[in-house]
């Protein structure tokens, strides 16, 4: 198996075609599906995992391609590293991206671990992103189809994975992927695209939070809307239902549309204000990960602060082992704590971090004492000082 490639197959069309392309290239391919959680909420004898549609589809595709397929049960790891983080981030008033967390801590790590144990030299996934080589050094670059580009979710993967990572559909556009699936006769060819977080059925994330936090958690209890001046202006039904930049569900009666500016968990306040108050020209990010040699303060890079948002120019004002501060050369709306700030140099992903706050930070937050190795982390901390928060985020 020394020359074979372990392909993560979710049962969706993208990873199905990724596997198919490698098979057509004549590679020795092994398919693997990570079983990350159980749809069934009823623990006990009735609990069934192997009936999950994604697993069945991945198996069918593997059979069609004539490759072995295996299912890894990573439910425990996924719960510890992704779901727990998702829940505690919302509880702390932030808006996490579980896919970033999964790619950074579960998916690629588990895939590499299995590849090693099977003696597979490389791994592959069906992400829309590319691995390019510059003077022999592998770099992560944006997809050929910019609208499908998924590098925003991939900045946190361990850098050394790049040396053995294949992204077979990174140059393709979605219609071409579907065409390929139909041509090969894959059962997944016309599967509708999923826009949901995989463990949040029907997009009911408040339901997931209720299940994990309990109905009486402060994040789900009523609290006040307040203006920027701290003036109460209505009641909300739980700050975890809001995200910075959100417009829906806010009190009316203002001459202009109002947006969520900030979430303050301690007093259970959701701060609202007009659009112009959303704009910021700086941000602080923690939990940094670099996929090239780390940049230096003063470097001008592109940054993307939300999935699907344009890449905008920025200047690094400081850069430590665990975090960085950016000056946004064009002010951006709704810099949202918990989302990612991904840095690009042209097409190449330099690295990224988890947005801690808009605006400049106190000095101590990037001090070496705040550094800790990246491993499974779970927030929250009741101590909300900046330094502690960033350290917690990355410990």
């Amino acid at each position: 198996m020394a020359d074979s490639i372990l392909v993560a197959m979710s049962g969706g069309v993208d990873s199905s075609v990724a596997a198919a392309i490698l098979v057509e290239r004549g590679e020795r391919v092994v398919g693997a599906t990570l079983k990350t959680f159980c749809y069934s909420e009823v623990a006990g004898p009735g609990k069934t995992c192997c009936g999950l549609e994604g697993i069945a589809d991945a198996r069918s595709v593997a059979a069609r391609l004539g490759i072995p397929h295996m299912v890894f049960d990573v439910e425990k790891e996924f719960t510890d590293d992704v779901i727990d983080d998702f829940v505690s981030e919302y509880a702390a008033g932030r808006t996490p991206i579980p896919c970033v967390r999964c790619n950074s801590f579960t998916k690629f790590r588990d895939l590499v671990r299995r590849a090693d144990s099977l003696g597979c030299e490389a791994i592959a996934t069906g992400h829309y992103a590319r691995v390019v080589r510059h003077d022999g050094t592998p770099l992560l670059a944006r997809a050929g189809d910019d609208r499908k580009d998924q590098t925003y979710f991939l900045w946190g993967i361990p850098r050394d994975v790049l040396t053995r990572l294949h992204l077979p559909i990174g140059d393709l556009r979605k219609p071409a992927v579907r065409d390929a699936a139909r041509r090969i006769g894959l059962v997944t060819a016309d599967k509708p695209e999923s826009f949901e977080i995989c463990f949040v059925p029907d997009n009911d994330y408040a339901g997931v939070l209720r299940r994990y936090l309990g109905d009486d958690h402060p994040a789900l209890l009523p609290g006040s809307f307040v203006t920027e001046d701290g003036e109460p202006c209505g009641q909300h039904d739980g700050y975890a239902r809001f995200t910075v930049g959100q417009r829906k569900g806010l009190p009316g009666g203002y001459p202009e549309p109002m947006f969520v500016l900030a979430i303050r968990p301690e007093p259970k306040e959701v701060v609202i204000g007009p659009r112009e108050a959303l704009a910021t020209s700086a941000l602080v990010a923690g939990a940094a990960n670099w996929l090239t040699d780390p940049p230096a303060a003063g470097d001008e890079l592109g940054v993307r602060i939300r999935h699907g948002a344009p890449i905008v120019p920025a200047r690094l004002t400081s850069c430590g082992p665990d975090g960085f501060e950016l000056e946004l050369l064009l002010p951006q709306d709704a810099v949202t704590p918990g989302q990612s700030a991904v840095l690009y140099r042209d097409d190449v992903v330099v690295g990224g971090g988890v947005i801690h706050s808009a605006g400049p930070a106190a000095d101590q937050c990037l001090s070496p004492s705040a550094s800790a190795n990246r491993s499974r982390a779970s927030l929250p901390s009741s101590d909300r000082s900046l330094g502690t928060r960033i350290a917690t985020r990355t410990s």
Partner: protein, 388 residues
Amino acid sequence: MESMIYLDHAASSPLRPEVWQAMAEVVGTADFNAASMHACGRGAQEILERARSDIAEAVGAARGEVFFTAGGTASDNVAILGFARRRLAEKPLLVTAAIEHKAVLEAARQATREGADLEVLPVDEHGQVEPASLDAILESAAGRPTLVSIMWANNEVGTIQAIPELVEIAHRRGALFHSDAVQGFGKLDMRRDTAPVDMLTATAHKLGGPVGIGVLVCRRGTGLEPLVFGGTQERGVWPGTQNPVGAVGFARAVQLCVAERTSHIPHFVAMRDSLAARFLEEIPGLVIHAGGAAQRLPNLLSVGIPACDQATLLVALDMAGVAVSSGSACSSGTASGSHVLNAMGIGNEEDYSVVRLSFGPSTSDEEVRIAGDAVISAVASARTAFAN
């Protein structure tokens, strides 16, 4: 597929050439609706009834006591829920064992939601039900309608229960006895005069017959409530258009299995035991599941390997061209999920791997030897993986 060594007959045993030949021979005469009044329907029915008769003979039952169903799970559900639902007013009691197939355990749990009571007997480390524990439960339940359901042979580890003794206890205490005999059917002697069970579940595809047809052999007067409605086929026990071609395949498979018993069983036992001895010698820490049971399925060997990664092991064997399983057929491939091993007090530690190898009529010594090599080398690599 041709190059695979298939040692997963306990999951499904491929259709035997003699079986599909028998099925092919009745195409044109049996592939009609057996309930139709015309000659074609009558012809199909005649063939269906002959198949029923052949299967009845294998267990010493009357033809009218064999009901065709969709398979083992359907038969288990009809037996358990059919018994309970007929007697709900009298607060029926179901007694079963912790190592049963989910078709029995989950049907019994459903019956408790409908008003029945359930007692689940523990098993010892070899998966055996202690007959005295059954006696004790039944003694305290005297006077209530009671069904005991204990599987003949376990699908994951191969333990054979002391069915004659358990049936005797049940009957002495006035209870009825059902056995899920899916695994041992055809291979073990299940004639009524040895073990007079009241109901017995069997399915064709475990012995080289077609998937999708099973039987519930049910003594007259047992009294079962149907689970599905809309016809009177199988005397209302399992309504729906019958499957005469499948029944012919099932009957042929049973006949072959019974006829070959004296030659195949010693061969299975020899292959099983020499493989077990080899594993014990070459794989440190390996455990033979149910190794100390009074009786075990001759064609099944289940081993436990501590400190070994299950998924890695199974895929390495898959890639080596050896088809085995970790227990029951579940693609999630986790050993810790086995309720059977849990009931036996085994395999609770992390990275406890299970390999179940099960033989069929075509299995050769050479295949078992190659599979043995593959398991030994796969364990070595999966253990390295675990160590990392």
